[in-house]
Symmetry: C2
Subunit: 382 residues, 2 copies
């Protein structure tokens, strides 16, 4: 019955660790942990694999298995670095590939070896680099989106101008502004970049403009280069559509060399249930960082989304938890951010946060510049 030959395998011995939450009574949960070791690696009947290299090195290995509550276990499983091939898609595939289709398993935290991490550059700017670029050493950053879909390129640019004049740190396109006939990509980016540059010339600030770059795979890089040449000073990407490794590819590219803000559109289903999926800390924190985002846009615990305070705190942790040479990044909470909310939010996010303000920015008065100034002053006095 030996279809697989027994043979030695040469591996570095370096392993990476994934902490999973597993539900079930002890027997069920342990059997689920054992199944992860197989499903995420050989995906082959374990009893048909002889003693030797594959069994010893390629199988996942349960490092710890502890109860954390009623029918709830925490299992740390390690994998040989080599089975990632040192490529991001396969690394995530090992962390949560086929088991994404099995119930009761949630990825809680990544603990990657320094050797594995040395194959990834992570964010180009990170907290320190982005603060230097914008010239804001300490306070939270202020971030907004121009919108809605339906406005013309010129109208969006006018809005960008007024907001930049009010001293916001970053103006991005709304994530739903793509390449619609109302405001085609190229025209919009040219006008908005020019508008923000004009405002910067007046204010003396370095407000960044981040076009939302989405669209057909074939022309994504072309759109990014177009945006840069048109004066965009940062980029927004949607990894739910372009893929996390595309973010990594853009962050790694010296010819682009711009800060990257990621928006989690389409990715919420990973985090929404506490019983399965990918925890907020990993999804919005560690994975986005590994992919090279400088700000990870995320739903705030106040407002119209469903994330709670503790979940948002875990994202903050995921943005800053030690990960070898990978820089810390900003969480970018959006939804429900108002002048009144800063006092509580500082306890969740600290100061290394980029607040994404929108509805409340527009609602305060018809004078967008004044509204922006008011938010900025509040943060300067925090």
């Amino acid at each position: 019955m030996r279809i697989i030959p027994s043979f030695p395998l040469t591996v570095s011995g370096s392993r990476f660790r994934v902490r999973y939450q597993i539900l079930g009574d002890e027997k069920t949960a342990r059997s689920r942990a054992e199944d992860i070791c197989i499903e995420q690696t050989i995906e082959y009947p374990a009893d048909l694999v002889p003693e030797g290299g594959i069994r010893e090195h390629v199988f996942g290995r349960i490092e710890t298995f502890v109860s954390t509550g009623s029918d709830r276990y925490d299992a740390v499983i390690s994998y040989a670095d080599e089975i990632s091939g040192y490529e991001l898609p396969q690394l995530i595939n090992i962390i949560f590939g086929n088991i994404s289709m099995k119930p009761a398993i949630r990825v809680m935290e990544l603990d990657l070896s320094d050797d594995l991490l040395s194959h990834f550059n992570g964010p180009r700017f990170g907290v320190t680099g982005l603060r230097e670029l914008i010239g804001v050493p300490r306070r939270p950053l202020l971030f907004t989106a121009i919108k809605p879909i339906g406005l013309s390129a010129q109208q969006l640019a006018d809005m960008a101008y007024k907001l930049a004049l009010g001293g916001l740190d970053i103006i991005k396109d709304d994530h739903g502004i793509a390449n619609q006939p109302f405001a085609p990509f190229k025209e919009r980016v040219m006008r908005a970049a020019e508008a923000v540059a004009n405002a910067n010339a007046k204010t003396g600030l370095n407000t960044l403009y981040a076009p939302n770059v989405t669209g057909p795979t074939e022309i994504m890089i072309e759109r990014i280069h177009f945006a840069k040449e048109a004066g965009a000073t940062s980029l927004m990407l949607l990894p739910g559509f372009c893929g996390l490794d595309f973010v990594r590819r853009v962050a790694d590219d010296d010819s682009i060399d711009l800060p990257i803000f990621v928006h989690p559109a389409f990715m919420g289903s990973f985090a929404l249930s506490p019983d399965f999926g990918v925890d907020h800390l990993v999804l919005h924190g560690q994975m986005m960082r590994l992919a090279g985002a400088d700000i990870s846009v995320m739903p705030n615990y106040i407002g119209r989304f469903s994330y709670n305070r503790d979940e948002c705190y875990r994202i903050t942790r995921g943005c800053a938890v030690p990960m070898g040479q990978i820089k810390s990044i900003f969480p970018g909470p959006g939804g429900g951010i108002s002048p009144e909310s800063f006092a509580d939010m500082v306890m969740v996010y600290g100061l290394d946060v980029a607040y994404l303000i929108s509805g409340n920015l527009h609602r305060q008065s018809p004078d967008l510049t004044k509204n922006a100034q008011r938010f900025r002053e509040m943060l300067e006095n925090l």
Copy 2:
């Protein structure tokens, strides 16, 4: 308070429809439906938008809202085709972007206008084209993976040879076989393609070989062209990592011109809860088809995954439900497929299905060729 100007918008009038399941009592569910109309389009305070073009054309529109059970509603919401920009990432962003981060909303079915569908080619082969290519007019296809990680390229190729000799229709790499040092991508693809070609020369069949093409974004297209030149006769892609639009880009490329099999690694969290996410019918059926997959690999209801029989039946429907000129495709159920299971599975999948056999193929006897022949004969006699 009018920040947004009132102005006319020119739109085609053509709209696409999305059927959502929404949970909650009637008031809550209706308010969630109204929220979808805003969140997925303008993402801006609706009360600040004046009468006129945006309100009339850009807001989503509730077409029907009916109770389907206790605290369970079915809402069909339509959107102007234009706000998709006729680009796949933005289309999916409208269907399920920000609302992926809100609870109690599930995408149940897509009803895209013929005009919108005319911007997409869908699968290059589809059921009819793939049957012609392989030379199997009627029976289900038989599909397997070479594995596990840890085998050398030559060992994987030997396995491919034996399986192709037994008359399987498609041999693919396991989705976990990427570019590991044990069997680097190029060497593995060259050897496996050659092995399957050698077997075809003996059998007179046209068994396809599909390398798993995953890896860094920069070299994905290069890897695909390398695979084709090395003799690969189809491709496996992982949209959870490369993105759905990358599949579309490959399917559209005349210089590639190969059938595409998609594997749902990392994507299970969308479907796993019946209360939110993207229903099996849409995720594994309609979305994969729209992206251009010819076979959508999926967890079978028998075996180690958690999908049930009805969910698998819905995938079958999603693979074949009318979608303009977009061809029907094969569901590719894997997990728990044994000779004994065919009688029940035919009721779920019909004949237009590609069975992905693995464990039971290896377990029957140490002679892989004979095992493969046995499965093939069973299907020929179905």
